[in-house]
């Protein structure tokens, strides 16, 4: 299994490298380190969200409310910054993470206590959170001149030649790697997604694990909300509309099994970078940006087909439980 995963991530690195090389033949400046750093910076927010989404997917759930959560938190902190310009930035960032975590915890509670299927919960909260962003702002925009310079410039501060946004993404990647591979909670997410029954017998509270995964995903979405609003210097209700699909796409491309329990941090990051490279390359090679939606659609479908094959070939059934799993897979 591990070999397969290693192989898979190497494959993705290869594909991304080939793509970059291919685009470079059409646009000479594409493969320069400066441009690649730009692409990474552009993809940072997607990477952060994909890691939250991945944690949720690992537990056999899905969080479709991340983009709406991002829009609400982004709007909330932008309005707070505009109304109280004296508020310290650190407090705003903590607030963003906190609000996001609360919204995520609401999802988690509905999934944990009421056992409502995650897809239904988050489809519902998706509209509710975005609606709340509208109620909060009354449909008005918060523009760059209303926000304080400190609030806007933070993700752009250069540190060792890269903007702080990129560094934050790198920091979150490392943090999530530690959380998922070196903590009890991390192992519990894999266990409760890979084999819920066995996880329960092993003493893992799968409901609580899901709750924590949703809260984590919400907190990261909240952080991404602040980063998004300050990076694009505008907050409005439709910010990041449909972005939840990009996060799911990044996970699926990165080899995270939608059935839960399989996937790695490196996979999610590479999946996000894959989408980031395509997004940045389309205008460069003269394809309309409108094509991006269809391309990510095709990529999602292909990735799902590919994942399903890889999982089947790996032969996860060690003892045949009356063949039920195999037939209904």
């Amino acid at each position: 299994m591990k070999k397969l995963l290693k192989h898979r991530e190497l494959l993705l690195v290869g594909i991304i490298a080939i793509m970059v090389a291919g685009f470079a033949t059409r646009a000479p400046g594409f493969a320069t380190p400066g441009n690649l750093a730009n692409i990474f910076n552009d993809t940072s927010i997607l990477i952060i969200l994909a890691l939250g989404q991945m944690t949720v997917i690992l537990t056999k759930s899905i969080d479709l409310s991340v983009a709406a959560n991002l829009a609400f938190t982004g709007m909330a902190v932008a309005m707070m910054d505009a109304t109280y310009p004296g508020m310290p930035l650190a407090l705003l960032v903590i607030l963003a993470v906190g609000i996001g975590a609360v919204l995520g915890a609401i999802n988690g509670t509905l999934v944990w206590w009421l056992r409502i299927p995650p897809i239904v919960v988050t489809l519902g909260t998706l509209t509710i959170y975005r609606g709340m962003a509208f109620v909060l702002s009354g449909g008005a925009w918060v523009n760059s001149h209303q926000m304080t310079p400190g609030f806007l410039n933070f993700p752009r501060l250069p540190v060792l030649g890269m903007p702080l946004l990129s560094w934050m993404a790198i920091g979150i990647v490392l943090l999530m790697w530690v959380v998922l591979t070196r903590t009890q909670f991390g192992r519990a997410t894999y266990a409760s997604g890979g084999n819920p029954t066995a996880a329960v017998y092993a003493g893992i509270d799968t409901g609580r694990t899901k709750f924590l995964a949703f809260t984590l995903s919400g907190a990261l979405a909240g952080l991404a909300g602040y980063l998004w609003v300050s990076r694009y210097a505008v907050a409005y209700v439709d910010v990041a509309a449909g972005f939840e699909l990009d996060t799911v796409a990044a996970c699926v491309i990165g080899g995270i099994s939608i059935a839960g329990g399989i996937g790695s941090v490196a996979g999610a990051v590479l999946g996000a970078l894959f989408l980031g490279v395509i997004k940045n390359a389309l205008p460069v090679i003269g394809i309309s940006p409108f094509a991006q939606m269809a391309i990510s659609g095709i990529v999602i479908v292909l990735a799902v087909v590919f994942n399903a094959r890889a999982e089947r070939r790996a032969g996860r059934i060690i003892l045949r439980d009356r063949g039920a799993k195999e037939v209904s897979a």
Binding site: S288, A291, A294
Partner: protein, 337 residues
């Protein structure tokens, strides 16, 4: 779908005695929902003096007829244990195809044929991915959702198609008799047809069996994959029909047409008492749920509530209607213990 849901249905929920037919009927979800619909109706007529008017009520039906047509097929799909999140994107693609054909001067019969054909093709793609390649429908249809709508975006970009033939307007704007619009009559006719398919044919029974126990269904000789494929095809077709009605009603096509409808359709189905875990639900429930949602949104519209705030209500409605029976069951379970 089945991959996401981990909870198994409780066997202990089956009672020893069923009670009298009358008490069973009164306790059913459909009757409860019908009461809610009447309550909302009365509340609306008090809230706005413009509500109780035959033409006004006829206008209100346009709020839900197109979504309800898809909801019938979606109900069967959810009962069988799958889901299709690409329905709104199919509407967008079918509408775009019809728009492109209308620019080339194709007449109304041709446009309708194109709309339905696109729906069928999209349904067949979803069906193939789910039943032949055996992929989880929820991810597949999230993928095809952005694929189908993405193709509309590639075709249209930020432009729009207008210029539909004059007689094409009948499907969305015409009236059969008095205040009964073509869409409303079609909605009733489809409700009857789907009611018969689901509740009075072998195919309908097979849908329930697969939804309750796919493994047993396979051993009973039910062609599980074929049934699922047919249902995806049917859902695609209904999306095509809805696309014809909606395009005809609006008279123009943008790639963002019917955005977010998949959520409202699923909400309608679940509100109608169809179990999101599969295996249970009726068409009658979906019909009443369609009226409830139509009345709620129309009533809020009369009270000047903006669309995005209405969507908060739709989202809350979805979560509460699913949570309520679970909470009630849990309280009952605790009190019997």
């Amino acid at each position: 779908m089945s991959d996401i849901v981990t909870e198994t249905r409780t066997r202990s929920a089956i009672p020893d005695r069923l009670g009298t037919p009358v008490s069973r009927l009164l306790g059913s979800w459909e009757v409860l929902l019908f009461g809610v619909a009447i309550a909302i109706f009365i509340a609306n007529s008090f809230a706005s003096p413009y509500f109780l008017n035959a033409w006004n009520l006829s206008d209100a039906t346009f709020n839900f007829t197109e979504k309800a047509m898809i909801a019938f097929a979606m109900a069967m799909l959810i009962i069988v244990g799958e889901i299709d999140l690409s329905v709104a994107a199919i509407i967008a693609l079918a509408s775009t195809a019809m728009g492109a054909a209308a620019q080339m001067g194709i007449g109304t019969p041709g446009l309708v044929a194109i709309g339905l054909a696109v729906g069928l093709v999209c349904g067949a793609i979803n069906g193939t991915l789910v039943s032949v390649l055996k992929l989880p429908s929820i991810v597949v249809t999230i993928g095809t959702m952005s694929l189908f709508r993405g193709i509309s975006y590639i075709t249209l970009g930020d432009k729009a198609y207008g210029k539909y033939p004059a007689d094409f307007a009948y499907f969305g704007q015409g009236y059969v008799v008095w205040v009964f619009s073509f869409e409303f009559v079609l909605f009733i006719a489809l409700a009857v047809i789907f009611g018969i398919i689901l509740h009075a044919t072998n195919f309908g029974r097979q849908v329930y069996v697969i939804g309750n126990n796919e493994f047993a269904a396979r051993f009973s000789g039910i062609p599980v994959e074929r049934v699922k494929f047919k249902l995806f095809l049917l859902t695609g077709l209904m999306s095509g029909i809805a696309a014809v009605c909606l395009t005809s009603r609006l008279g123009s096509t943008r790639p963002s047409i019917a955005q977010g409808w998949e959520l409202e359709v699923v909400t309608m189905v679940v509100l109608g008492g169809v179990s999101i875990l599969g295996g249970a639900g009726t068409i009658a429930g979906v019909v009443i749920a369609a009226f409830v949602m139509g009345l709620v949104t129309f009533g809020l519209g009369l009270l000047n509530v903006p669309g995005i705030v209405m969507s908060i209500f739709v989202g809350l409605l979805l979560i509460i209607t699913i949570a309520l029976p679970i909470v009630v069951r849990r309280i009952k379970f605790m009190s019997t213990k």
